[in-house]
Assembly symmetry: C2
Homo-oligomer: 143 residues x 2
């Protein structure tokens, strides 16, 4: 009877080890994880890969997790709790990822503009910064 049982039940879903586990794992980390990362962090017995994908897809449709695209070969996921709004910085050199919380998000104006111009109703957005971390800058001769 995990911490998220209630949440899942309220949404008409059964609470299972796979689902509880994913939610717990994603809450414990500050950077988004790939399906593989997630599976590896499960204690034995690890759920099947297919189960991880199916549950990520379900939790995502319930809005409990959210996918983050960092220009890699695979997607990553993060917990999508209320009011949590994170952006990220990704190092092009070593792939290191830092997450940071933004105090105010300046993008509300743009979203209204999009509604006006395209009729699109924006539900969320994704903002990532790319560059070089201190270590990689050092290696490359401090640009």
């Amino acid at each position: 009877m995990g911490k998220h049982t209630e949440t899942l039940r309220r949404m008409g879903r059964t609470s299972t080890r796979g689902r509880e586990g994913i939610l717990r794992i994603l809450e414990e980390t500050s950077i988004p994880l790939s399906p593989k990362d997630i599976r590896e962090r499960f204690p034995e017995p690890k759920p099947d890969t297919a189960t991880v994908y199916r549950n990520l897809s379900l939790l995502s449709s319930l809005g409990l997790v959210r996918s983050v695209a960092l220009h890699e070969r695979c997607r990553r996921y993060e917990a999508a709790g209320e009011g949590i709004h994170r952006h990220r910085v990704v190092c092009r050199g070593c792939g290191r990822i830092e997450a940071f919380q933004v105090t105010t998000c300046h993008l509300a104006g743009i979203e209204a503009d999009i509604r006006r111009r395209f009729g699109f109703k924006v539900t969320d957005h994704s903002l990532e910064f790319f560059g070089s971390c201190p270590e990689c800058r050092k290696k490359e001769g401090a640009k």
Copy 2:
């Protein structure tokens, strides 16, 4: 002797059909294309898939194209010309993509902040909006 021959030579690379083609194709479209899309737009004889991938990787490291992550299973690419700065709106319902140019990008302040807090030097960023396009809103009963 294509339009991009000079650019490539200046960067110490040979100008080939594959590279010229990719740059031309990406300039002709307003939305980012997948490697598959790109290959399909080549006139016969189409280059091999591996060639497309290798060239995208090269052009990307030269900064002539840039990858765009839209939470799909594959990456997309767009031309990365000087001063060109695009954002996108993606419909979660049908996958439709619209691109729009921003006049001023409000993010310079954040980038400075990142430099201060993490020592990361930001070279670029990626901003995408997700939501429902007019058609999908209609189908779903206008939310």
